[in-house]
């Protein structure tokens, strides 16, 4: 993995969430920081129930200015509900939440003036053309046309949609719609950008273009809050993330520290065919530090994948395929919950 997260341990170190498992390097920063980090979002024991269902079950976290903060978890973990509460369009059942020092339930319009929102499903205005989507959305924030017109052109360029300015929205590809949605979310120069599953349904190329745009925003000081169930996305984009399952925080930290704390350096993936995968476990006992048996493959967690593979061969086992790879957040999630992220 490229070292994208080497900034860990700098002044942006947040306080650990109360009910998150403490990670090794999540203690109070020893750096000489003159002022405490300024949090743009602070959630304490945030809880949301729908009838009998508890979507968000007492989660606490704080996000400092300029951080890319991720909520990683499977579908139904409570990520989108958390996002809705931040946007003030879902009311929390209990707990406290402040955005830029304001309670989004009491100051909905005011809080949302600071937010850019990229919802899980594009909700572009299909009755308006591409550029008009930006102008009209800006009007919703009460911004004047004299500001919006140059801003819309600037954002179209940012989203690489300048030549589509007069197109109809339904003529755009999925990736273009997504970029337009992101451009739209920036019309009010938000300090916090909420991205709910930003690249779900996009092809790899479109995802990379989008990630590049998000990196640029981060460089400009925008705080990014994103939910995802893609581990590679979380690794690429997030400075720090919480792993969420069933409405609770399972772990918190940078992608690198989570992998370090909850997984081994390397993983050996073995496939013995669907019949053998579950039964072969006993024969692999003792190889590596930990064994995980999935329906389609066996994962051996080890510091040295090649050595483990040799050991497997030495025991006379012949897997159909074998693969040595670096540990990922997927492995962290598997370790924490016993389940895969995408099921």
């Amino acid at each position: 993995m490229p070292e994208l997260h080497s900034a860990e341990g700098t002044s942006k170190k947040p306080a650990p969430a109360k009910d998150a498992r403490p990670t090794k390097d999540a203690g109070p920063s020893t750096n000489a920081v003159p002022a405490p980090p300024q949090y743009v979002i602070t959630a304490k024991n945030l809880t949301k129930t729908y009838g009998d269902v508890t979507a968000v079950d007492g989660i606490s976290f704080s996000v400092p200015v300029g951080e890319a903060f991720g909520l990683l978890g499977p579908n139904g973990a409570g990520k989108s509900t958390t996002m809705k509460m931040i946007g003030g369009v879902a009311q929390r059942t209990s707990g406290s939440l402040t955005i830029m020092g304001l309670d989004p339930e009491e100051h909905g319009p005011e809080v949302r003036a600071h937010l850019g929102v990229v919802p899980q499903q594009d909700n572009l205005d299909e009755e308006l053309r591409v550029r008009d989507n930006l102008l009209v959305y800006g009007r919703y924030f009460g911004l004047p046309m004299s500001y919006l017109k140059p801003k819309a052109d600037e954002l179209l360029e940012f989203a690489q949609l300048t030549d589509k300015a007069k197109s109809k929205v339904d003529a755009l590809s999925g990736g273009m719609k997504r970029r337009l949605t992101i451009a739209r979310s920036l019309i009010n120069e938000p300090r916090i950008l909420l991205l709910d599953e930003p690249t779900t349904g996009l092809d790899p190329q479109a995802r990379h273009i989008l990630w590049d745009r998000l990196f640029r925003l981060k460089e400009q000081g925008v705080t990014l809050i994103l939910t995802t169930h893609y581990m590679d996305e979380a690794e690429q984009l997030c400075d720090r993330l919480i792993v969420v399952d069933k409405g609770r925080i399972m772990a918190e930290g940078s992608p690198a520290s989570l992998i370090r704390n909850y997984s081994t350096r390397e993983v050996l993936e073995l496939r013995f065919g669907s019949e053998r995968n579950t039964s072969v476990g006993a024969e692999l006992e003792g190889i590596g530090e930990r064994l995980e048996t999935l329906p389609d493959r066996v994962l051996i967690y080890t510091q040295d994948g090649e050595a483990a593979l040799e050991e497997v061969s030495a025991r006379g086992l012949r897997p159909l395929t074998s693969l040595v790879r670096r540990s990922s957040l997927e492995d962290v999630f598997l370790r924490l919950t016993g389940r895969s992220l995408i099921d």
Binding site: E110, R112, V136, L143, L186, N188, L217, Q220, G221
Partner: protein, 277 residues
């Protein structure tokens, strides 16, 4: 490239406002959006809404009117059958336009286009959205009423300058139906439920003294119809068209004022519980 490094002062103004969670005094942005959308896609639909009552007036008023002859108008004078039903058709068209805009249109935007979800993630509150959409419905009602009144004039059905008051009165009627319609639509989840609206509208259109006086009904049916909103609209416009005002005129106007207030309360409450849950 600087997307975010400049121009913060422009949004500061928007950020520093203090408003409740329901209303940010920006319904005009919703109205602006509606006008822009109409310009690019909806105007044919709008045109059809204008012709509907005109076609009714020609077929029923001129066609059937030839058989009916003259009838007794609201002031007791003899008027042509076309002049009798024209104000009623105007009231029906005000109702239909407002209901279409505030039910089917809103239903689609709410459940399929996800337009309101997008709006409510901005500084707009539910009340801004409701007021903007209702205003658009009224603007459309105003255009239809003006056009229909002009047609009445061309057909020689207008005999008093008072008749011009039918235009603002139509807007009043449309306001009553639009404010209620939007609230009712918020309860609807499926197309089948939306059909219930037609189930109420069609009998109201046919039986609210639109084509013949209320006196043909037995007393208890009269009471039922007098409780329904369209009858008040029909009577109001019919009185205005002849310049024949009675104390009942004030009751008709009052009926709509109450309907508007209750409808706005219902709509805002529903939008709040739907989108800020």
């Amino acid at each position: 490239m600087t997307v975010l490094t400049q121009g913060h002062s422009v949004t500061e103004e928007a950020r520093n406002r203090r408003f409740g969670p329901l209303y940010s005094r920006n319904a005009r942005a919703v109205i602006g959006r509606g006008l822009m959308a109409t310009k690019s896609s909806n105007w044919l639909v709008m045109l059809s809404g204008f012709f509907e009552p005109v076609l009714f007036l020609i077929s029923m008023g001129v066609g059937m009117g030839a058989m009916v002859g003259t009838v007794q108008g609201p002031g007791g004078q003899e008027i042509s059958y076309a002049a009798y039903i024209a104000p009623a058709l105007l009231a029906v068209s005000a109702m239909n336009g407002a209901i279409y805009d505030s039910t089917w249109n809103v239903f689609f935007k709410m459940n399929f286009a996800k337009l309101y979800q997008g709006m409510l993630y901005t500084s707009l509150g539910p009340l801004d959205v409701a007021m903007g959409e209702i205003f658009l419905a009224l603007l459309r009602g105003l255009l239809y009423a003006t056009g229909f009144t002009a047609v009445m004039g061309l057909m020689g059905l207008i005999t008093t300058p008072w008749a011009l008051l039918m235009i603002p009165a139509s807007v009043l009627i449309a306001f009553g139906f639009a404010s209620f319609g939007m609230g009712i639509t918020s309860f609807m989840k499926t197309f089948q439920q939306m059909d219930w609206i037609n189930f109420i509208m069609l009998p109201m259109f046919l039986f609210s003294a639109t084509f013949y006086p209320l006196s043909v009904y037995p007393q208890y049916i009269q009471w039922l119809i007098q409780a329904m909103p369209l009858w008040h609209g029909v009577e109001l416009l019919r009185q205005i068209s002849a310049g024949a005002f009675t104390p009942a005129t004030a009751i008709h106007v009052g009926y709509y004022l109450v309907m508007i207030v209750l409808g706005l309360m219902l709509t805002t409450g529903r939008l709040r519980s739907l989108f800020l849950k």
